[in-house]
Protein backbone atom coordinates (compact mmCIF):
# COMPACT_ATOMS: atom_id res chain seq x y z
CA UNK A 1 0.00 0.00 0.00
CA UNK A 2 1.61 3.19 -1.18
CA UNK A 3 0.47 6.74 -0.90
CA UNK A 4 1.91 8.25 -4.05
CA UNK A 5 0.65 8.88 -7.51
CA UNK A 6 3.34 6.80 -9.21
CA UNK A 7 1.14 3.73 -9.06
CA UNK A 8 -1.71 5.59 -10.72
CA UNK A 9 0.59 6.45 -13.61
CA UNK A 10 1.80 2.85 -13.88
CA UNK A 11 -1.79 1.59 -13.79
CA UNK A 12 -2.91 4.05 -16.45
CA UNK A 13 -0.08 3.11 -18.79
CA UNK A 14 -0.53 -0.61 -18.11
CA UNK A 15 -4.28 -0.35 -18.74
CA UNK A 16 -3.70 1.45 -22.03
CA UNK A 17 -1.12 -1.13 -23.12
CA UNK A 18 -3.21 -4.13 -22.09
CA UNK A 19 -6.36 -2.84 -23.75
CA UNK A 20 -4.32 -2.14 -26.87
CA UNK A 21 -2.89 -5.65 -26.62
CA UNK A 22 -6.43 -7.04 -26.50
CA UNK A 23 -7.19 -5.26 -29.77
CA UNK A 24 -3.98 -6.58 -31.33
CA UNK A 25 -4.80 -10.12 -30.20
CA UNK A 26 -8.26 -9.81 -31.67
CA UNK A 27 -6.84 -8.53 -34.94
CA UNK A 28 -4.66 -11.64 -35.19
CA UNK A 29 -7.52 -14.03 -34.46
CA UNK A 30 -10.45 -12.59 -36.31
CA UNK A 31 -11.38 -13.03 -39.96
CA UNK A 32 -10.79 -10.07 -42.22
CA UNK A 33 -12.93 -9.94 -45.32
CA UNK A 34 -13.75 -6.32 -45.84
CA UNK A 35 -15.97 -5.14 -48.65
CA UNK A 36 -17.39 -1.83 -49.62
CA UNK A 37 -20.82 -2.34 -48.11
CA UNK A 38 -19.45 -3.51 -44.78
CA UNK A 39 -17.26 -0.46 -44.50
CA UNK A 40 -20.09 1.88 -45.31
CA UNK A 41 -21.47 4.09 -42.57
CA UNK A 42 -24.33 2.34 -40.76
CA UNK A 43 -27.41 4.47 -40.96
CA UNK A 44 -30.23 1.92 -41.12
CA UNK A 45 -29.53 0.91 -44.68
CA UNK A 46 -29.91 4.36 -46.15
CA UNK A 47 -27.12 5.81 -48.20
CA UNK A 48 -25.42 8.45 -46.09
CA UNK A 49 -25.65 12.00 -47.27
CA UNK A 50 -22.59 14.10 -46.60
CA UNK A 51 -20.43 13.53 -43.56
CA UNK A 52 -21.57 13.53 -39.96
CA UNK A 53 -21.29 17.28 -39.75
CA UNK A 54 -24.85 18.01 -38.94
CA UNK A 55 -25.53 21.19 -37.06
CA UNK A 56 -26.29 20.78 -33.39
CA UNK A 57 -28.53 22.83 -31.26
CA UNK A 58 -27.17 25.36 -28.84
CA UNK A 59 -29.14 23.56 -26.12
CA UNK A 60 -26.37 20.97 -25.87
CA UNK A 61 -23.75 23.64 -25.31
CA UNK A 62 -25.83 25.27 -22.59
CA UNK A 63 -26.15 22.01 -20.67
CA UNK A 64 -22.40 21.51 -20.89
CA UNK A 65 -21.98 25.10 -19.70
CA UNK A 66 -24.10 24.63 -16.58
CA UNK A 67 -22.21 21.42 -15.88
CA UNK A 68 -18.81 23.09 -16.22
CA UNK A 69 -19.62 25.96 -13.90
CA UNK A 70 -20.93 23.64 -11.20
CA UNK A 71 -18.02 21.27 -11.61
CA UNK A 72 -15.52 24.05 -11.09
CA UNK A 73 -17.43 25.51 -8.16
CA UNK A 74 -17.53 22.07 -6.57
CA UNK A 75 -13.77 21.62 -6.89
CA UNK A 76 -13.22 24.73 -4.79
CA UNK A 77 -15.37 23.23 -2.02
CA UNK A 78 -13.23 20.11 -1.60
CA UNK A 79 -10.33 21.61 0.40
CA UNK A 80 -12.87 23.45 2.53
CA UNK A 81 -14.79 20.25 3.24
CA UNK A 82 -11.50 18.63 4.18
CA UNK A 83 -10.74 21.35 6.73
CA UNK A 84 -14.35 21.69 7.85
CA UNK A 85 -13.96 20.10 11.30
CA UNK A 86 -11.39 22.69 12.31
CA UNK A 87 -13.18 25.72 10.93
CA UNK A 88 -14.87 28.16 13.30
CA UNK A 89 -18.65 28.24 13.15
CA UNK A 90 -19.00 31.57 11.36
CA UNK A 91 -17.35 30.16 8.23
CA UNK A 92 -20.53 28.18 7.63
CA UNK A 93 -22.00 31.52 6.65
CA UNK A 94 -19.27 32.13 4.05
CA UNK A 95 -19.53 28.65 2.55
CA UNK A 96 -23.32 28.86 2.49
CA UNK A 97 -23.09 32.19 0.72
CA UNK A 98 -20.85 30.64 -1.93
CA UNK A 99 -23.15 27.64 -2.30
CA UNK A 100 -26.20 29.89 -2.57
CA UNK A 101 -24.47 31.96 -5.25
CA UNK A 102 -23.98 28.76 -7.21
CA UNK A 103 -27.61 27.83 -6.61
CA UNK A 104 -28.80 31.24 -7.78
CA UNK A 105 -26.85 30.82 -11.02
CA UNK A 106 -28.72 27.55 -11.50
CA UNK A 107 -32.01 29.30 -10.78
CA UNK A 108 -31.14 31.94 -13.39
CA UNK A 109 -30.51 29.27 -16.00
CA UNK A 110 -33.73 27.57 -14.96
CA UNK A 111 -35.77 30.75 -15.34
CA UNK A 112 -34.22 31.46 -18.73
CA UNK A 113 -35.40 28.08 -19.92
CA UNK A 114 -31.93 26.60 -20.36
CA UNK A 115 -32.85 23.48 -18.44
CA UNK A 116 -35.84 22.59 -20.62
CA UNK A 117 -35.16 19.72 -22.98
CA UNK A 118 -37.65 19.57 -25.81
Amino acid sequence: MRTDFAFVGVLLVAAFLLMGAALVAASLLRPKKPNKDKAATYECGMETVGDAWVQFRVQYYLFALVFVLFDVGGVLLFPIALAFNQLPAWTVLVISLFALTLLSSLLYAWRKGVLEWD
Binding site: W53, F56, L62, V68, L69, V72, G73, L82, L87, L102
Partner: protein, 220 residues
Protein backbone atom coordinates in the same frame (compact mmCIF):
# COMPACT_ATOMS: atom_id res chain seq x y z
CA UNK B 1 22.51 8.37 -11.25
CA UNK B 2 19.59 8.68 -13.62
CA UNK B 3 16.50 9.04 -11.49
CA UNK B 4 13.00 7.99 -12.45
CA UNK B 5 11.75 11.51 -11.87
CA UNK B 6 14.17 12.91 -14.43
CA UNK B 7 13.07 10.42 -17.06
CA UNK B 8 9.43 11.10 -16.30
CA UNK B 9 10.05 14.81 -16.41
CA UNK B 10 11.65 14.61 -19.85
CA UNK B 11 8.85 12.40 -21.19
CA UNK B 12 6.21 14.73 -19.77
CA UNK B 13 7.96 17.79 -21.18
CA UNK B 14 8.18 16.25 -24.65
CA UNK B 15 4.54 15.11 -24.57
CA UNK B 16 3.20 18.40 -23.22
CA UNK B 17 5.14 20.72 -25.47
CA UNK B 18 4.64 18.47 -28.50
CA UNK B 19 0.91 18.36 -27.89
CA UNK B 20 0.84 22.12 -27.37
CA UNK B 21 2.65 22.64 -30.68
CA UNK B 22 0.14 20.35 -32.36
CA UNK B 23 -2.68 22.41 -30.85
CA UNK B 24 -1.47 25.58 -32.52
CA UNK B 25 -0.50 24.04 -35.88
CA UNK B 26 -3.09 21.37 -36.69
CA UNK B 27 -5.54 22.10 -39.46
CA UNK B 28 -8.39 20.10 -37.98
CA UNK B 29 -9.81 21.93 -34.97
CA UNK B 30 -11.23 18.75 -33.47
CA UNK B 31 -7.82 17.10 -33.53
CA UNK B 32 -6.34 20.25 -32.08
CA UNK B 33 -8.84 20.00 -29.22
CA UNK B 34 -7.80 16.40 -28.56
CA UNK B 35 -4.17 17.47 -28.52
CA UNK B 36 -5.16 20.16 -26.04
CA UNK B 37 -6.50 17.39 -23.80
CA UNK B 38 -3.14 15.63 -24.06
CA UNK B 39 -1.34 18.85 -23.13
CA UNK B 40 -3.64 19.28 -20.12
CA UNK B 41 -2.84 15.74 -19.10
CA UNK B 42 0.88 16.47 -19.32
CA UNK B 43 0.44 19.49 -17.07
CA UNK B 44 -1.42 17.27 -14.58
CA UNK B 45 1.65 15.03 -14.64
CA UNK B 46 3.83 18.02 -13.77
CA UNK B 47 1.56 18.78 -10.82
CA UNK B 48 2.14 15.23 -9.60
CA UNK B 49 5.90 15.74 -9.88
CA UNK B 50 5.46 18.95 -7.89
CA UNK B 51 3.61 17.00 -5.17
CA UNK B 52 0.39 18.94 -5.68
CA UNK B 53 -1.80 15.83 -5.91
CA UNK B 54 -5.07 17.64 -5.41
CA UNK B 55 -4.29 20.00 -8.24
CA UNK B 56 -3.36 17.14 -10.55
CA UNK B 57 -6.78 15.59 -9.96
CA UNK B 58 -8.46 18.99 -10.20
CA UNK B 59 -6.68 19.57 -13.50
CA UNK B 60 -8.15 16.32 -14.83
CA UNK B 61 -11.60 17.16 -13.51
CA UNK B 62 -11.73 20.81 -14.57
CA UNK B 63 -9.70 20.95 -17.75
CA UNK B 64 -10.12 17.47 -19.23
CA UNK B 65 -13.54 16.65 -17.84
CA UNK B 66 -15.12 20.06 -18.23
CA UNK B 67 -13.36 22.75 -20.24
CA UNK B 68 -12.31 20.48 -23.13
CA UNK B 69 -15.88 19.21 -23.31
CA UNK B 70 -17.05 22.78 -23.67
CA UNK B 71 -14.45 23.44 -26.37
CA UNK B 72 -15.40 20.31 -28.32
CA UNK B 73 -19.08 21.24 -28.08
CA UNK B 74 -18.25 24.66 -29.48
CA UNK B 75 -16.24 23.05 -32.29
CA UNK B 76 -19.26 20.93 -33.14
CA UNK B 77 -21.63 23.87 -33.03
CA UNK B 78 -19.56 25.91 -35.45
CA UNK B 79 -18.78 24.41 -38.80
CA UNK B 80 -15.46 24.85 -40.55
CA UNK B 81 -13.55 22.15 -38.73
CA UNK B 82 -10.75 21.91 -41.21
CA UNK B 83 -9.20 25.17 -42.17
CA UNK B 84 -7.56 25.55 -45.56
CA UNK B 85 -5.12 27.97 -44.02
CA UNK B 86 -5.07 27.46 -40.26
CA UNK B 87 -2.97 30.51 -39.51
CA UNK B 88 -3.30 34.14 -40.52
CA UNK B 89 -0.86 36.39 -42.38
CA UNK B 90 0.94 37.56 -39.28
CA UNK B 91 1.74 34.00 -38.17
CA UNK B 92 5.36 34.21 -39.35
CA UNK B 93 6.02 37.36 -37.43
CA UNK B 94 4.20 36.01 -34.39
CA UNK B 95 6.25 32.83 -34.51
CA UNK B 96 9.48 34.81 -34.56
CA UNK B 97 8.32 37.06 -31.75
CA UNK B 98 7.24 34.06 -29.68
CA UNK B 99 10.56 32.34 -30.20
CA UNK B 100 12.41 35.51 -29.17
CA UNK B 101 10.22 35.78 -26.09
CA UNK B 102 10.94 32.18 -25.20
CA UNK B 103 14.68 32.71 -25.52
CA UNK B 104 14.39 35.84 -23.37
CA UNK B 105 12.47 34.01 -20.66
CA UNK B 106 14.88 31.11 -20.73
CA UNK B 107 17.85 33.46 -20.43
CA UNK B 108 16.14 35.08 -17.47
CA UNK B 109 15.49 31.72 -15.83
CA UNK B 110 19.04 30.61 -16.62
CA UNK B 111 19.44 27.29 -18.36
CA UNK B 112 22.97 26.99 -17.04
CA UNK B 113 21.43 26.44 -13.66
CA UNK B 114 19.62 23.36 -14.95
CA UNK B 115 21.57 20.42 -13.73
CA UNK B 116 19.74 17.20 -14.33
CA UNK B 117 21.27 14.82 -11.84
CA UNK B 118 22.94 12.05 -13.76
CA UNK B 119 21.61 13.09 -17.13
CA UNK B 120 24.86 14.16 -18.70
CA UNK B 121 23.78 15.38 -22.17
CA UNK B 122 21.38 17.87 -20.67
CA UNK B 123 24.06 19.20 -18.35
CA UNK B 124 26.38 20.33 -21.15
CA UNK B 125 25.21 23.96 -21.06
CA UNK B 126 25.79 24.00 -17.32
CA UNK B 127 29.39 22.92 -17.87
CA UNK B 128 29.87 25.18 -20.86
CA UNK B 129 28.94 28.20 -18.82
CA UNK B 130 31.04 27.00 -15.94
CA UNK B 131 28.21 27.93 -13.65
CA UNK B 132 27.58 26.44 -10.23
CA UNK B 133 26.03 23.07 -10.97
CA UNK B 134 23.09 23.39 -8.63
CA UNK B 135 20.41 25.89 -7.97
CA UNK B 136 21.16 27.22 -4.52
CA UNK B 137 17.87 27.07 -2.76
CA UNK B 138 16.72 25.00 0.13
CA UNK B 139 13.39 23.32 -0.53
CA UNK B 140 11.20 22.45 2.42
CA UNK B 141 8.96 19.43 2.51
CA UNK B 142 5.24 19.91 1.94
CA UNK B 143 3.36 19.52 5.18
CA UNK B 144 0.77 16.74 5.02
CA UNK B 145 -2.02 19.16 5.92
CA UNK B 146 -1.29 21.58 3.08
CA UNK B 147 -4.74 20.99 1.62
CA UNK B 148 -6.46 21.59 4.97
CA UNK B 149 -4.56 24.84 5.24
CA UNK B 150 -5.72 25.80 1.77
CA UNK B 151 -9.28 25.08 2.82
CA UNK B 152 -8.90 27.20 5.94
CA UNK B 153 -7.29 30.02 4.00
CA UNK B 154 -10.05 30.00 1.39
CA UNK B 155 -12.76 30.83 3.90
CA UNK B 156 -10.61 32.99 6.13
CA UNK B 157 -7.71 34.83 4.54
CA UNK B 158 -9.07 34.71 0.99
CA UNK B 159 -12.72 34.93 1.97
CA UNK B 160 -13.45 37.86 -0.33
CA UNK B 161 -11.73 36.21 -3.27
CA UNK B 162 -13.61 32.99 -2.56
CA UNK B 163 -16.97 34.74 -2.56
CA UNK B 164 -16.01 36.72 -5.64
CA UNK B 165 -15.17 33.44 -7.38
CA UNK B 166 -18.75 32.38 -6.74
CA UNK B 167 -20.02 35.67 -8.09
CA UNK B 168 -17.75 35.27 -11.13
CA UNK B 169 -19.31 31.89 -11.84
CA UNK B 170 -22.77 33.44 -11.49
CA UNK B 171 -21.84 36.24 -13.88
CA UNK B 172 -20.33 33.77 -16.32
CA UNK B 173 -23.58 31.83 -16.25
CA UNK B 174 -25.67 34.94 -16.81
CA UNK B 175 -23.42 36.25 -19.59
CA UNK B 176 -23.03 32.97 -21.44
CA UNK B 177 -26.70 32.08 -21.21
CA UNK B 178 -27.69 35.54 -22.35
CA UNK B 179 -25.33 35.44 -25.31
CA UNK B 180 -25.81 31.87 -26.48
CA UNK B 181 -29.47 31.27 -25.68
CA UNK B 182 -31.61 30.39 -28.64
CA UNK B 183 -34.28 33.02 -28.71
CA UNK B 184 -37.65 32.21 -30.12
CA UNK B 185 -38.68 33.99 -33.28
CA UNK B 186 -41.46 35.79 -31.41
CA UNK B 187 -38.97 37.26 -28.98
CA UNK B 188 -36.66 38.40 -31.75
CA UNK B 189 -39.47 40.07 -33.64
CA UNK B 190 -40.68 41.75 -30.47
CA UNK B 191 -37.18 42.97 -29.69
CA UNK B 192 -36.73 44.34 -33.19
CA UNK B 193 -40.04 46.16 -32.99
CA UNK B 194 -39.10 47.73 -29.69
CA UNK B 195 -35.71 48.70 -31.06
CA UNK B 196 -37.26 50.24 -34.15
CA UNK B 197 -39.84 52.09 -32.06
CA UNK B 198 -37.12 53.48 -29.81
CA UNK B 199 -35.06 54.60 -32.73
CA UNK B 200 -38.06 56.14 -34.42
CA UNK B 201 -38.81 58.03 -31.24
CA UNK B 202 -35.21 59.19 -30.87
CA UNK B 203 -34.59 60.24 -34.47
CA UNK B 204 -36.53 63.24 -35.75
CA UNK B 205 -36.42 62.37 -39.46
CA UNK B 206 -38.00 58.93 -39.93
CA UNK B 207 -35.74 57.79 -42.79
CA UNK B 208 -32.63 56.68 -40.76
CA UNK B 209 -34.80 54.60 -38.44
CA UNK B 210 -36.18 52.59 -41.31
CA UNK B 211 -32.66 52.12 -42.61
CA UNK B 212 -31.47 50.89 -39.22
CA UNK B 213 -34.21 48.29 -39.14
CA UNK B 214 -33.30 47.18 -42.64
CA UNK B 215 -29.63 46.67 -41.74
CA UNK B 216 -30.33 44.74 -38.56
CA UNK B 217 -32.69 42.49 -40.47
CA UNK B 218 -30.09 41.89 -43.13
CA UNK B 219 -28.03 39.89 -40.68
CA UNK B 220 -30.57 37.14 -40.47
Amino acid sequence: MLTFSTVIFVILAVVTLGAALAVVTMKNVFHAALMLVLAFFGVAGFYVLLEANFFAAAQVLVYIGAISILIIFAVMLTRGVTMARPNNEQSGAVATASAVLFVLIVVLVGPWKINFPGFAPLNLPARAFGAPPEFKMAVQAVSPDALQRLGRALVDQYMVAFLLAGVLLLLAMIGAVWVARERKLVEIVKERREMAAEEAAAAVPPAPAAEAVATTDAHH
